[in-house]
Symmetry: C2
Subunit: 414 residues, 2 copies
């Protein structure tokens, strides 16, 4: 029996326990994880240094090394996450949609954990802790498969997490890391329908597509965001510039960052010069369609720009004839993440909301709000861009399912 | 471009229309389908006769021919389904989980259609109509792939459905049937992530497993049910026999029929003789474990019996030492459909509900209630035995998703 099956079996068995575990014990386990992280900071940092040294030796770009590197502040960030998750309400056990039939049978839905969740992720070692505590709090056990470049960090973190669990009432086997980072094992993991209830890929487009294409286990797609803002003719120019600035520059590497701004032709001459000025102050490179180039001197956009998630200080801008053209552009290039209309026209706002089918559809706000914290969920496992099961931020509730509970009095169907 | 891609493209384009269509127009379309079914009854029956004749010529068993055969009554049943679905509440557009942030931004979820739904099904031609009207009412377009044995019936039904749609405001291309029943096309269909939002297999275990294993499109598994009833020591003997009788014999070919009864050892001698008598009156074959054989003279059960969905007048019975053994047996052999405990002991009832993780968990009622109609959904596309997205009966609401709608006042994230 290989490592994968062995660990999957342990997780499934621990899952029977976790399903019944009450919030008090789950919170205590997360508290013990926080304590263990604090106590083992030096150990974690020294193991992380091995990964960082290897990455540098292999000539990995500094931006990527930065995603990999831990320091005291980042470990304190993990501990903060533990405290945040402890304070979230446990969704398990909630009774909803309950009704009493005319014959006296009560039918209710009861929220229950999914079971065993697999997470496949890249570089950032903080996902190891974040994913684990969200899974545990929602009553699930978790199979982690991190990137090979972070293997020493992830091994250290899981060792420390298990040390924390040892001091709690929750089985150590509630979290397992696949230590063999051979790609073939990922493929095997994606076929473990007998043990895994869900697989969540967290990373770039390549990883997500690979998982969608190869998994027979149900998948929750997270992440890729080609987000749009449409500036309608009726929008306030300066307020629109504030929003575009915020949506592009507040944290350009995130999936809810705007990548393309669509501007109504009748407001183009009013907004473009000031928008260019503001974005250049923030070091944003603008790529414009032919019509944009008539108003401001920027780099021309190519067809490829409309289909690119820059995750960087680059913004493509296109002038459109009307709302219909904006909607049609979004339908063609959107990844279904977040789109916003800036407008003071009621009918246009309503039409945009009706016709745009993305996880988050905004009227007069920055796309940067698409986030579990901002949406009142406290924390998130990622942003789902698929339609099944959960859409938008995936919080604790989205990591659960329900079962029907039927309470009768020796009833038979007539 | 082959038939499949061509039809998928048409459906995706019609889906943009259906998403915006209001209940009034959708109901009118379904009414027109009902009218067309009534008007074309002779045509449908004569096309169906071709399938029936071919099946008989090929020596297909009469039970299966019966699943395939239509008659006036069965077409009237389809028309009744149309009227039922017209009277159901349209789930699309519902606003829920709405809240106002402290800064005045309103965040809400809005229920929206999934888009394009693929249905892969076997023999029974009524699924062609049922699946279509449920999909349309929930704002989805539908790609149908029926069995080759029903191809003439399905072609006729879809022709008639399209005739109905022609008299309504909904595009004819909202429903398409794959006419080429080559198996290879199913495989191709399961990879159409660009066009299909969901695939639902309706049929036997073989079909469902094939779809789960081969689909990159998200799947909603429906169907297989190895359902259990556990008779606790404290249960009323005669009422328990009534429930077992109902759960086994009311409609033995359905997925919510009980297949295995587990009996607490301390009630075995009291219930088994009368249970045998009742079931034999109903022509049910009993297969018992060794312990059962000590009480009544029936056929011995083999290991295979515990893992079999009979869908027939056969029942396996096992005596267990206690509730824990019953739960453990169910965990091993259940398909996660429906399980019931018959008991008057409060703690045992609570424990059963907590530990059994099936779509429907019963206290003191027949498993036969697991049904969209009985659960207040009016109609259903099948019973989901998976945990993602929807569990239990799949009604109109379960054929939708949601999007977040965020209403701001030119807000930026701080």
């Amino acid at each position: 029996m290989n490592e994968l099956i062995e660990k999957a079996k342990k997780l499934k068995s621990a899952s029977d326990f976790l399903k019944k575990t009450k919030a008090k014990e789950k919170n205590e386990a997360i508290r013990q994880i926080a304590i263990a992280l604090e106590k083992n900071m030096d150990y974690i940092l020294s193991e992380n240094k091995k990964d960082v040294d290897i990455a540098r030796k292999n000539g990995v770009k500094e931006a990527l090394v930065d995603r990999l590197a831990l320091n005291e502040k980042r470990i304190k960030g993990m501990i903060d996450s533990c405290n945040t998750v402890i304070n979230l309400k446990d969704p398990v056990g909630e009774i909803f949609d309950s009704f009493l039939r005319e014959d006296g049978i009560r039918i209710s839905k009861m929220r229950v954990p999914l079971g065993v969740i697999g997470i496949i992720y890249e570089s950032r070692p903080n996902v190891t802790v974040d994913a684990t505590i969200l899974a545990l709090k929602s009553g699930n056990t978790v199979l982690l498969r991190g990137g090979s470049d972070a293997i020493n960090s992830n091994k250290a973190l899981v060792k420390v997490i298990k040390e924390g669990l040892k001091n709690s009432g929750i089985p150590e086997n509630s979290v397992e890391l696949i230590e063999n980072t051979d790609r073939a094992l990922v493929n095997e993991m994606l076929k473990l329908n007998e043990y895994l209830d869900l697989v969540i890929p967290r990373g770039g487009k390549g990883l997500i597509n690979f998982v969608v294409k190869n998994s027979t286990v149900p998948v929750l797609e997270t992440g890729v965001g080609i987000c749009h803002i449409f500036v309608d003719e009726s929008a306030d120019v300066m307020k629109s510039i504030d929003i575009i600035d915020n949506a592009k520059t507040q944290r350009p590497g995130t999936c809810n960052t705007v990548e393309t701004v669509l501007i109504h032709k009748d407001i183009a001459s009013k907004i473009l010069p000031d928008l260019k000025k503001r974005l250049e102050e923030k070091n944003v490179e603008i790529r414009g369609c032919e019509e944009v180039l008539k108003h401001i001197d920027v780099k021309p956009a190519t067809e490829e720009d409309w289909a690119t998630e820059y995750l960087d200080l680059i913004l493509s801008i296109k002038v459109v004839n009307d709302l219909d053209e904006a909607i049609s552009h979004i339908k063609t290039y959107s990844t279904g993440h977040s789109e916003s209309i800036l407008t003071e026209d009621y009918l246009n706002a309503m039409k945009f909301v009706e016709e745009i089918d993305s996880a988050a559809v905004y009227i007069n706000a920055s796309t940067r709000f698409t986030d579990g914290g901002e949406f009142g969920m406290g924390a998130e496992m990622g942003i789902s861009t698929q339609k099944m099961h959960a859409r938008g931020p995936v919080g604790l509730k989205e990591l659960t399912t329900y079962k029907f509970v039927i309470q009768g009095n020796y009833d038979v169907r007539g």
